[in-house]
Symmetry: C2
Subunit: 284 residues, 2 copies
């Protein structure tokens, strides 16, 4: 697909920062913080601070730093607000996409190239990222307790002994983590959702909302599985599939917030999609 060039003259790092802002402003985004809803311990303004704080790490990615260094710097900057983890998953997707864009090939092949070129050092930096914020994650597989991300830099020796690159780590998680599956599957859902954002009409924040609901119908949200189990995650998909207009999406948003259901992984993917759409010229 020939990519229309954005007329903003923003580089990829700035588009990524803007994607973080447009993602949280996309409304309604059932179960997530959006322009009209906060969660009890996570506020809209903390996402604004998280986006601005991420900018240095995103700029590093644009300028050719390694995925690991750029990601860890972005997460560290993001975490300088009181809400904790606002955009860890978004950044995990954005950093390789920014690098691919900066290298002139923002395509499934281009970003797969970036992902496959990651090193053991990148894996170590990724693990260190978990020391900056509490990230809700599931247990690792039986044979990989030494690779539990919650060990942070404590996992470094295991990563080095097993000679695992960041791409290898993503492969190990791909079965149970939708963001890892983006890494190992050419960011398929991100590119597909970007296409629907580009083909849609109206304010970008409305397009983000519709793309979010569509994504939510496709697969169980990883964060919902982690917090509530597979059954609830399947129900979330079914309930999203019943949404046919803005009013129903708003009603579902109120229900999910009340029930504590937070499909945060789906928000990560719509953020990645928004970045791609910005790079391809979606008008603001």
């Amino acid at each position: 697909m020939p990519a229309p060039v954005s007329n903003r003259g923003f580089g990829p790092a700035r588009h990524a920062e803007l994607a973080l802002l447009l993602e949280v402003a996309g409304t309604p985004k059932p179960g997530n913080v959006d322009r009209t809803r906060d969660l009890s311990a996570l506020h809209f303004e903390q996402f604004l601070a998280g986006a601005v704080g991420s900018s240095e790490g995103l700029r590093l990615a644009e300028r050719g730093a390694s995925v690991g260094e750029a990601f860890e710097t972005a997460v560290e900057g993001m975490s300088k607000q009181g809400g904790g983890n606002t955009q860890f998953g978004c950044l995990l997707l954005l950093v390789p996409l920014v690098k691919a864009a900066a290298e002139g090939d923002l395509s499934p092949e281009g970003v797969t190239g970036v992902a496959e070129a990651t090193t053991i050092d990148d894996a170590v930096s990724f693990y260190r990222g978990f020391e900056h914020v509490d990230v809700a994650v599931g247990d690792p597989p039986e044979d990989a307790h030494d690779l539990d991300v919650r060990r942070g830099s404590g996992a470094e020796s295991a990563l080095r002994e097993r000679e695992l690159t960041l791409y290898d780590v993503m492969e190990l998680s791909a079965e149970r983590d939708a963001n890892a599956r983006e890494w190992t599957g050419g960011f398929a859902r991100s590119f597909r959702a970007a296409k629907s954002i580009l083909a849609d009409e109206g304010p970008v924040t409305d397009r983000v909302s519709r793309a979010f609901v569509d994504l939510l119908t496709e697969e169980p949200d990883t964060l919902v599985v982690t917090n509530h189990g597979e059954k609830v995650a399947r129900e979330v998909m079914a309930r999203a599939a019943e949404v046919s207009d803005r009013e129903e999406a708003d009603a579902l948003a109120a229900e999910f917030v009340a029930e504590g259901i937070n499909p945060g992984t789906t928000a990560d993917i719509v953020c990645a999609a928004t970045f791609i759409a910005l790079e391809r010229g979606v008008p603001l």
Copy 2:
């Protein structure tokens, strides 16, 4: 007043960008775009893009560029969205404040020093800023038609002949422009509103909202005077003075939007105040 140091580790440029975001997210901000209200031709997302686009110019200010160069660069970046003028007035206040903060003296004296040190070249750059966006301004005084800001760089020879620095230009406008009065009066309202934001409680976006309503009661808003005349601007002050809680502020917001009353200059000053509050450690 001893300034508590922010624990975010953000530099002044990043705090200024965050102030732009927190200003637009401050809700309700009667008559302005806020988290729940758009104007017909000016959308929330365009302010997000304006803030991100401003960041390069703000960074120049932090790194010691002249006020004029930093301001023109920020305005040019801000204007790369379809809404037109989102944050011109905010940037006019933020740029000298960022420079003062970067020089280690974010005080009325420090920013007055920055303002008074501006040059004729800064004035020329300021005028060029008007070529990037349409800014609603009143007519210049009878004897100063050659200095009409709407002439953009066409006013350069007049500025050079009259040997006017940017500070001089602000002095000429101070009587009828509240932002120019900040420049020539030690940013008095910005510092006072920052104090009330710091002393207030709860989310910063709520504090911004309350500070906005307080500022609105103090003086006629310059943009309202420009668009609707002095009498309406005085009525706006009186109506703001009747607001005693969030519900009444929301009702006034609905009325002002319906009546096309947009107190944009007051939003500029609350943005400057938010920057000062961030530098002084308001928690997020």
